[in-house]
């Protein structure tokens, strides 16, 4: 725990100070929240009709639930696609063939650097102009953009997973006469995939959050449905609060699963089972890049 690094066990004076600080801080926090509540009350945001319209059965039936269904649908398709795309690219970055490695590297770095929203808008406009046979074009654009971005993040997770394994794993494979690709396939990848599971679950949170970007290209996901409801009932604060709570509950459950998995799986693989940060490009390979300059076999061989 971080607390134990900075703070020693407290003596009587420290404990008394802590209690006083605790009370003062609690009062300050409650006062701050109360001030916000009073300000909202003065603006009439606690009118019961505003809240009733935001949580009524009709709101759930006609707005939130269909929206949530679309959100989950795009997230599910995007997850499956991203895992496939990421596995192919990740193995490509570890491949023995220099051309395959280089091409996969360029693809991964490109899609990790381009904002998901730019891709979504581009694909949406591209499909609208060139591929009108696609019935649900916003859906296709959302899924494709999420697959490309999250797939390249997963590719990096695969590479980091193999890179974080102890060098002895690859050396043992070579020592018993496997070729470098066989070592990768039958010794390194299985352990790396187990090790990266928690980070993959964390990435699901990113997929789910980014699916809300679909609102901007008018994909009728949860946030978009809430906006339509709020423009009808004039209660954006209330509806957005409901939607935020739905997202927070789902994502919090996923984060908890990732946390449990990280503990559960740490005994089953030689790799590191760290969770992802839930934002950005979560790859930290201790000791520098792995597999970029040399294949796993060569890397293991060079480890003198």
């Amino acid at each position: 725990m971080s607390a134990s690094v900075l703070f020693d066990a407290q003596g009587p004076r420290g404990r008394a100070l802590s209690v006083a600080g605790n009370i003062a801080a609690a009062v300050a926090i409650v006062a701050g929240l109360g001030w916000v509540a009073v300000a909202l009350y003065d603006k009439g945001q606690f009118e019961s009709t505003l809240w009733e319209n935001a949580v009524s059965a009709e709101a759930w039936q006609y707005y939130y639930l269909p929206g949530l269904q679309n959100t989950l649908r795009s997230a599910a398709f995007a997850t499956v696609g991203a895992v496939l795309f990421g596995l192919v690219l990740g193995v490509g970055r570890l491949a023995h063939n220099r051309v395959v490695r280089w091409v996969s590297g360029v693809v991964v770095e490109f899609f990790r650097a381009v904002p998901v929203l730019l891709m979504m808008i581009f694909f949406y406009m591209f499909f609208s102009a060139q591929a009108q046979w696609i019935a649900d074009r916003p859906f296709a654009a959302v899924v494709l953009a999420l697959v490309l971005y999250n797939g390249s993040v997963i590719a990096e997770l695969v590479r980091a997973g193999v890179g974080n394994l102890p060098k002895g794993q690859g050396e043992a494979g070579l020592a018993i006469g496997l070729t470098p690709s066989q070592t990768l396939r039958s010794i390194q990848l299985p352990q790396a995939l187990v090790a990266m599971l928690p980070a993959m679950v964390s990435q699901l949170v990113v997929v789910l959050k980014d699916s809300a970007l679909g609102q901007i290209i008018l994909y009728s996901e949860l946030l978009r449905s809430a906006q339509i409801l709020s423009s009808k009932e004039q209660n954006p604060l209330q509806t957005l609060a409901v939607v935020a709570v739905v997202f927070i509950v789902i994502n919090w459950m996923l984060t908890t699963v990732a946390h449990r998995l990280a503990k559960l799986l740490s005994g089953r693989t030689a790799g590191s089972t760290a969770e992802g940060p839930g934002i950005g490009n979560p790859t930290i390979v201790p000791g520098g890049p792995v597999g970029g300059g040399a294949g796993p076999g060569a890397g293991a061989g060079a480890a003198v």
Partner: protein, 229 residues
């Protein structure tokens, strides 16, 4: 081919792509500053021995880390601006700009907090014990022994958050900032649909050029400053 280039030259004359990127860089700069301050405060709250502060910090991180950024920025426009009628300046455009900065900061502060906390977690307990054993009290131990190592450990995750912030600055369009890159890309594609792919690649390469140096820089810095253990 000539057609293609003349079309591109015409587009460049009509739309200022660099100005749009400059808006995103400004959004990123101010949001980075603000979220660094807010995130550091949150991290201090979470590692303090005071239970109510820990609780408040944890609640903040749990709420904002799990909320889509799009909701926060839509909230800034639809609720804070339209419904509650709060304005920051007389100029609408700069009001939207600063609302977007606030929304981006509020969201990324949760990740800055976690980055700093993970930096503190890289410091082994033995370091703190050794500091106490040679007679340093709390503040000198924190200032001389623990925080210098913690900041070095936090550089890589902070760099990762900065890259995410730069890319997420495009979502400012949800807070009605109409001058940034994603809105300009949309306008340009609407104007010249025949050059669609080239326009997208132009913006995409712009972000690659911005993101890759940040990534290389923070990786270099974190490895150079890494505490060898």
């Amino acid at each position: 081919m000539d057609d293609f280039f003349s079309g591109f030259a015409e587009l460049f004359a009509q739309y200022d792509v660099l100005a749009a990127f400059w808006v995103n860089i400004q959004l990123t700069f101010w949001a980075a500053l603000l979220s660094l301050v807010l995130g550091t405060v949150l991290a201090l709250m979470r590692i303090s021995p005071i239970a109510s502060l820990q609780w408040a910090g944890t609640a903040y991180v749990t709420i904002f880390r799990n909320t889509p950024l799009t909701i926060i920025l839509t909230f800034m426009y639809l609720v804070v601006f339209s419904q509650l009628g709060i304005t920051l300046t007389d100029d609408l455009n700069s009001t939207f700009f600063w609302f977007a900065v606030i929304g981006l900061s509020v969201y990324h502060a949760a990740f800055v907090c976690e980055a700093i906390r993970s930096g503190v977690n890289t410091v082994p307990v033995g370091q703190a014990e050794a500091a106490r054993a040679i007679g340093l009290s709390f503040l000198p131990a924190a200032r001389l022994v623990i925080l210098p190592q913690a900041f070095r450990g936090a550089i890589a995750p902070l760099g990762n958050t900065l890259i995410a912030l730069l890319k997420n600055s495009t979502v400012a369009v949800a807070a009605s900032v109409a001058t940034e890159t994603s809105s300009l890309m949309r306008t340009m594609i609407e104007f010249r649909p025949d050059l669609m792919v080239a326009i997208f690649l132009l913006f995409a390469v712009g972000y690659v050029i911005l993101v890759i140096p940040i990534g290389l820089g923070t990786t270099w810095l974190s490895q150079r400053l890494a505490v060898k253990r």
